[in-house]
Amino acid sequence: MSKDMKFLVVDDFSTMRRIIKNLLNDLGYQNVQEADDGQTALPILQAGGIEFLVTDWNMPGMPGLDLLKAVRSDPKLAKLPVLMLTAEAKREQIIEAAQAGVNGYVIKPFTAVTLKEKIDKILEQRAA
């Protein structure tokens, strides 16, 4: 898997964005962009170049679920790998996210190992 892969991390809390960015850097992914909600993320995604999206759910402006739906309904972005990284843990939410086309779902608080496993799994499935 190419370590040059470009990530976009979307979370309204800058501390969480820093944590995820640092973990991605530890995993060898140095190319990480950030956005604080769906509204700011969408133009970055539409501009092209992002190869992996990691997004929170509960954010002001556009929540992560709406961002996921927007991504899936845009022909240029429809196949983008999306990992939901969120404190939202209700069963119906996880099902809703799965139905909306999420590729992975990690609940907060999470571990570095879980994040790595989910990213690897998504990328393996993409490569297959």
């Binding site: 501390t15 969480m16 509960n58 404190a87 939202e88 996880i94 608080p109």
Partner: protein
């Protein structure tokens, strides 16, 4: 009763007299126009009563709506908010202790690495100056072997702890989300109390009560699960999430 009759006599006496006079005199036009005036006057009184009743009813409904919202806030949401803030306190406490535990673990490792390096450094300087005895050279090599093995293990441990320290900062996001929810509740409580004060001051004709904005539910999210507060089935661990998704064919 006399005063009621007196009031009626005062309000309607002259009209009745005019009507009786017009009837006796056979003045049809005067009779009908006076009768119209009388009916109109009666309607006005009725409408005014009706308006007052409607106002009272509206006010009662508004008060009921504020009261029931306040009851809901006081009975359910304020205790919930207390539990949420307790959870925040617990999370921040745990994160601070976790961070300090990890830092305390790293301290001796760093110190040991520094001390061992210093120890070898002196012998190394003598070796570079070609002033080392063969026996001391042997000791130096043994120390260097041990140092390389130990420092690698120690630094791996330090590196792992640094990642753990990073992860422990995730409490800020989770507690921040909970605090935001409580702030929203406090704002709602304030609105309900202000509405109550306004209603009790002004009675009928008071400004309409602002209903709390309806939450747009699932799309926006519910925030982190708080033990003992959230209802409804939640995944309590990453394993639950994974098995749920596996059940959905993911």
């Amino acid at each position: 009763m006399t005063s009621g009759i007196e009031a009626l006599r005062k309000d309607y006496g002259s009209s009745i007299a005019t009507l009786a006079g017009a009837l006796a005199a056979g003045d049809e036009h005067l009779f009908l126009s006076e009768l119209d005036l009388l009916v109109h006057k009666r309607e006005r009184t009725l409408f005014s009563e009706l308006r007052k009743l409607t106002g009272d009813l509206q006010s009662a409904l508004d008060r009921f709506s504020v009261d029931s919202r306040l009851v809901d806030l006081a009975e359910k949401e304020v205790p919930d908010a207390r539990a949420r803030l307790d959870h925040v306190l617990k999370m921040t406490d745990e994160a601070a202790h976790r961070t300090m535990d990890l830092v305390e673990q790293c301290g001796p490792l760093a110190e040991r690495t520094s001390r061992s390096a210093g120890d070898i450094n002196e012998m190394w300087a003598r070796f570079r100056a070609r002033k080392i005895e063969i026996e001391e050279f042997r000791v130096m090599i043994q120390k260097m072997d041990a140092f390389l093995v130990a420092s690698r293990a120690d630094m791996d441990k330090v590196r792992g702890n640094l990642t753990e320290v990073l992860m422990a900062q995730g409490y800020q996001d989770l507690s921040g989300q909970i605090i935001r929810g409580v702030m929203k509740l406090v704002a709602e409580l304030e609105t309900a109390l202000v509405d109550l004060v306004r209603l009790s001051r002004t009675g009928p004709g008071a400004l309409p009560v602002e209903k709390p904005a309806p939450s747009d539910g699932m799309s926006r999210g519910f925030g982190p699960a708080v033990p003992g507060v959230d209802n409804g089935p939640s995944a309590s661990s990453q394993d639950d999430v994974d098995s749920l998704l596996a059940g959905l064919g993911m």
